[in-house]
Amino acid sequence: MNPVFQGLLTILIGVGGIFAYFVLSNMLLDKVLFPAKGPNASRNINRANLIRPWLFLAPTIIALSLYLVYPVIGSFIRSLYNRSGDQFIGFGNYSSLIASPDFRTAFMNNVLWALFVPAVSTFLGLVIAQLTDKLSWGNIAKSIIFMPMAISFVGASLIWKFVYAIDPNLGIINAIRASMGLNPLDVLQLAFWNNFFLMAILIWVQTGFAMVILSAALRGIPEETIEAAVIDGANPFQIFMKIQVPQVTGTIVVVWTTTTILVLKVFDIVYAMTGGNFNTQILPSYMMQFMFRDDGRATAVAIVIMLIVTPVMIQNIIQARKEMR
């Protein structure tokens, strides 16, 4: 069958099916189960309205429970079994993880990532948002800085793979080193510091996000507070630190936690750049190393990742619910 035709058919069946479901289930509710006529008309209308929301949410609930709720439980159960999945070993996978030096390296690297990346990208985003605000070409600078957000993590990683290339004809870093008469250097093999060269990629991608959100927040600050500070004789730096930043603390926290959650699950960068070699492993890429080879261990790592993310996630959800009520 022609692939275009096949695609169209899939869309048609999918969308048509969903809408047919919505219309038919509503018709069933209104005309057959609780008709809005007869002796109990008003009671029927009320009942129908009580049930209706669930009809509309049912496809989502089914999809979510199939794809979200079941998997979390499934992952946990699988992590209690051995490599081939036929023998229950309790927390054996977890204890062997803790005993493994590779896991500890990945864990420590991940801690570094989680501390460093959100801090730097939020800071850069805030500074850039403030500086570009005053410039006529600020918007051009902003759109350049935001551009990496549009590219995939893999694409961004490969771009930086060329930046870090050893060949001075390709790699920016080594081209600069060569012009200063230094020998080429593979920064991805520099013990310890290579982690920071990998983090630079995620910072490169994420600053745009921090910048956009914080710049909107900075513009929302009441003019009067700044004017009052100017009249009191504060210099621009003082205004920034003592008047503007305190008023956007909430947003800074939001950007920070959102980036932290992201950092804890990005595996593409390490996977594409070093494959976890040279002691650059982090938990998500460590997990992928075991995926399809030792699923018990892979799922155990996944559960560890989830445990680390959960406190940040809960904090975020509480904030959001407060916000959306």
Partner: protein, 315 residues
């Protein structure tokens, strides 16, 4: 500023009536002068701009050079002789392992994944958002929390069980399976997005429509949807870029190289160890893969920024 919430990031950018980015600077125009602080500002911005723009610049320039010219050095110089050959080669004959039919295959796979999953997820999410904002029903709070968890939970936890699910459904390794995964994972964030947007529409509109005799669908199609063009575009952008840029699901749920999406194929091309390394072709391939989201970015501008900012809470 009032205490801000997490999706506030999203909420702020999805407010329909408040174009925060669109609002230009206010107050009198500051005088231009070369003070010390100005020099610091320009200097900092210059360094920052180098960090952001230089890698992209070098990529573009190098992808337009021939291999001999690359070997001459001067990576920062624009090409002496512009050649589009590397781009053509990346598209038609770049190799992954033994297959040498270029990125085009990955591109068409990505298109085949993209179109159905985007349409399905946006259609379902808009109806869901509508249902959630129309009725404050019992259990809507719980449902809401589940959605939030769905938007934030690390995907790693779900990788393995979904493999089993797909295997049992006979969809493991197929594009259809991947489409279903994308639809399910796009649901939480998009439903939240639509719900927030719909909740900000004045209630009087609904009431007036009801008084005029409009039913559920009439309200949705004749009143809500025509007002929701921006949020639909935002949702489309989130889904298109998110799915196009996805790597994790592609690499996990597609088992055969013929069906790999573009990002996975790109990674295999660039990290392939066989044969002569043609850097210009690799760079062109990387740029080609980024082209779709970049084109959308430059075409849609502010809406894209909104979308990405709201969508960054997902993943």
């Amino acid at each position: 500023m009032a205490d801000t919430g997490m999706l506030n990031a999203a909420a702020a950018v999805t407010q329909p009536l408040r174009g925060t980015l669109a609002a230009g600077p206010r107050g009198p125009k500051p005088k231009n002068k070369f003070s010390r602080s100005n020099i610091i500002i320009y200097g900092t911005l210059f360094v920052v701009a180098l960090y952001y723009a230089l890698p992209l610049y070098v990529m573009i320039v190098t992808s337009l050079k021939g291999l001999p010219e690359i070997r001459m050095g001067n990576i920062f110089a624009p090409p002496l002789e512009v050649t589009f050959q590397p781009w053509v080669k990346a598209w038609q004959e770049a190799c992954t392992g033994i297959n040498c039919d270029g990125l085009s295959r990955g591109f068409w796979n990505s298109v085949r994944i993209l179109i159905p999953s985007v349409i399905l997820s946006v259609a379902i999410a808009s109806v869901n958002g509508y249902a959630l904002s129309m009725w404050k029903f019992k259990g809507s709070e719980v449902f809401f929390t589940i959605l939030m968890i769905g938007a934030f939970i690390p995907y790693q936890v779900m990788l393995y069980p979904i493999v089993i699910l797909l295997r049992e459904a006979g969809l493991y390794g197929s594009l259809t399976g991947l489409v279903l995964v994308h639809v399910a994972f796009g649901m939480p964030i998009n439903t939240l997005l639509f719900r927030n947007y719909f909740a900000s529409i004045p209630e009087e509109l609904f009431k007036a429509a009801r008084v005029d005799g409009a039913g559920f669908w009439a309200i949705f199609f004749k009143i809500i949807l025509p007002m929701s063009l921006p949020i639909c575009v935002v949702a489309l952008i989130i889904q298109v870029t998110g799915i196009w840029n996805d790597f994790l699901f592609g690499v996990t749920y597609i088992s055969s190289p013929d069906r790999y999406p573009m990002t996975v194929q790109l990674n295999n091309i660039v990290n392939s160890v066989q044969g002569v390394k043609e850097y210009n072709v690799n760079m062109a391939a990387t740029l080609l893969t980024g082209l779709v989201p970049l084109v959308i970015y430059f075409a849609s501008g502010k809406l894209f920024v909104r979308g990405i900012a709201a969508g960054a809470v997902k993943g």
